[in-house]
Symmetry: C2
Subunit: 339 residues, 2 copies
């Protein structure tokens, strides 16, 4: 309604103005609280739980856990399934996926926000990448990635039915473990420089019953420039969001890594690079593309390459039939190149 | 598509799964960066600006400001209006409003997330409210509130055409300044215990040309229990999101404040309380209601009152015809009570 005095007040329009923001804001905060308190793993497993079972698993007082579950249930993030028992809501995976985008910009990269003025003032300040908490980056990336990073490359890898699949910068080897579960007999090599991620990858692979077919190698992607032996004969080599760390300062090393990957692949083997590309302008991607690009350029002092530049890099390393695939993950592209 | 091997990969569905989260995540981070760097005020004014004008106003290198504006423009948060000139996008107010919800849960209340395990472990831990940065609470609340806290009470106050309007816990007196601008001859009293907010209120009122009709009083709402003199003869007294700080530990003081407000009002004068109510269950409000309630109960050790409890408190203080109005702001209610 617009009263005579001209102060507009329209309840429906005011509700609409908030959009999905209140719901998303609440969900990400509640999930981060659960993660910080050590309560999230049993919930995201999809199994039933009670305040008592969660409290015992997390080593927290039951009354505190009950209060947290009251909030989650009222928020429709978990559902009651009987007297005192709950399980994750049917759309928990979607809630967590969406929360991941916010957790990445607002928690994993918070040191950049909190020190923005310092970064903008000091033109000689180096990369701020070490200010970030690696665990927060990994957790938010896993939440984001559950629906949008991996489906295209996972589908591509499984369809190939490879004998040997490699992931460079494999983290906890989530992608490879899914490939191992879906392709009988395939072997996989996951390379990551983070010891915690490597040990977690081994544990996850064992739990999934595929540990005997996965080699976890604790090494940097840069090391492939010197020693690509563990890639020999691979049908497919993937690198997800790790090559961009080599630009602009290690472009020569990146070139050598690509050449060595090509050399190591079997004939007609596939090189697959999942990467961010800067400042896309289409409606779907432009806003998230802007923050991803800006964080990398201004705060991490990286130079994300364009689609054309990635295609050029792969061709320069000797690959043929190079192509880019649009990903659901905004500002992400999958580059596929054949030996 | 679902390939023969059964690994589903559906680009459209994967895009849809992200919903509005990537866009919101980006917008709130970009706005918080601008706020932290001191670049936001000239942008949100709606006036034209250049990298040079913003850099001069903020005392930052122009090259840094140009990089920030490149990100904002690519994100469609500002628009070019000529060679090197920009202004806020037409929907900037909506972007900022939505960002407010996320900034409040993920920045203003971050100490609760980051110390969740400690709060859940220590059952005797007192209120954590002092862990919060008051400025972050004020900024995110102002962003949230621009579309949804105030329209109902603003419309109510302006329609009354009061001679004297009072706001308890007035912050920077945004509500009162709008009333002063829209009702010729009205006088207003804004009470707040924060000296920074009081000085800012005076500056804002002067800039708006209504400073001669606004009295800013640096006092707590609790002080009204002892001395309500400055409220005498008011046509309307509003208190927005401040009474709940008195529950559960200062319920007696709250009762006395309400009684004194009623006594001070002119006959048929209006008491208006904007408040949060706990754990609403309707689809629109339940998720945001859950995080607001949980933050207050678990971390701030407050006890938000239900709609019925607020109505009871107002009746117990002697008010008649007490009613609750649903607000667009999720989990907010406006209680209106007549002397």
């Amino acid at each position: 309604m617009t009263p005579k005095n001209g102060i507009a007040h329209d309840f429906e329009a005011e509700c609409a103005a908030g959009g999905d923001a209140p719901r998303l804001a609440a969900a990400v905060a509640l999930l981060e609280i659960g993660d910080q308190a050590g309560l999230l793993a049993p919930i995201e497993s999809g199994d039933e739980f009670t305040a008592g079972s969660l409290a015992a698993a997390a080593g927290l007082p039951e009354v505190s856990v009950a209060g947290y579950l009251e909030a989650l249930e009222s928020a429709d993030i978990i559902q009651p399934v009987g007297a005192g028992s709950f399980r994750a809501a049917d759309d928990f995976d979607v809630i967590q996926h969406q929360a991941g985008f916010i957790s990445w910009t607002m928690n994993a990269n918070r040191p950049f926000i909190d020190n923005a003025r310092e970064f903008l003032t000091d033109l000689d300040r180096g990369s701020g990448i070490d200010l970030r908490d690696g665990r927060k980056v990994a957790v938010s990336s896993a939440w984001m990635g559950s629906k949008a990073f991996y489906p295209a490359i996972l589908s591509t890898m499984v369809e190939m039915k490879p004998a040997l699949a490699v992931d460079l910068g494999a983290g906890t080897c989530r992608l490879l473990i899914e490939v191992l579960q879906n392709v009988p007999g395939v072997r996989a090599v996951g390379l990551d420089m983070d010891p915690y991620a490597c040990r977690e990858a081994e544990r996850c692979a064992d739990r999934a019953g595929v540990g005997d077919r996965l080699d976890v190698v604790e090494r940097s992607i840069q090391s492939v420039a010197d020693d690509p032996a563990m890639l020999a004969g691979a049908d497919v080599i993937h690198a997800g969001y790790v090559f961009h760390d080599m630009f602009p300062t290690e472009a020569d090393i990146a070139h050598k890594v690509l050449e060595n990957c090509r050399e190591a692949l079997r004939d007609n083997g596939l090189m697959a690079i999942t990467e961010i590309v800067p400042y896309l302008r289409n409606e779907r991607e432009r806003r998230f593309s802007a923050i991803v690009t800006y964080y990398h350029r201004q705060f991490m002092k990286r130079r994300p390459l364009t689609e054309e530049e990635w295609i050029g890099k792969l061709r320069a390393a000797g690959f043929s039939s190079v192509r880019a695939v649009e990903l659901a993950f905004p500002t992400g592209r999958l580059f596929l190149a054949t030996k």
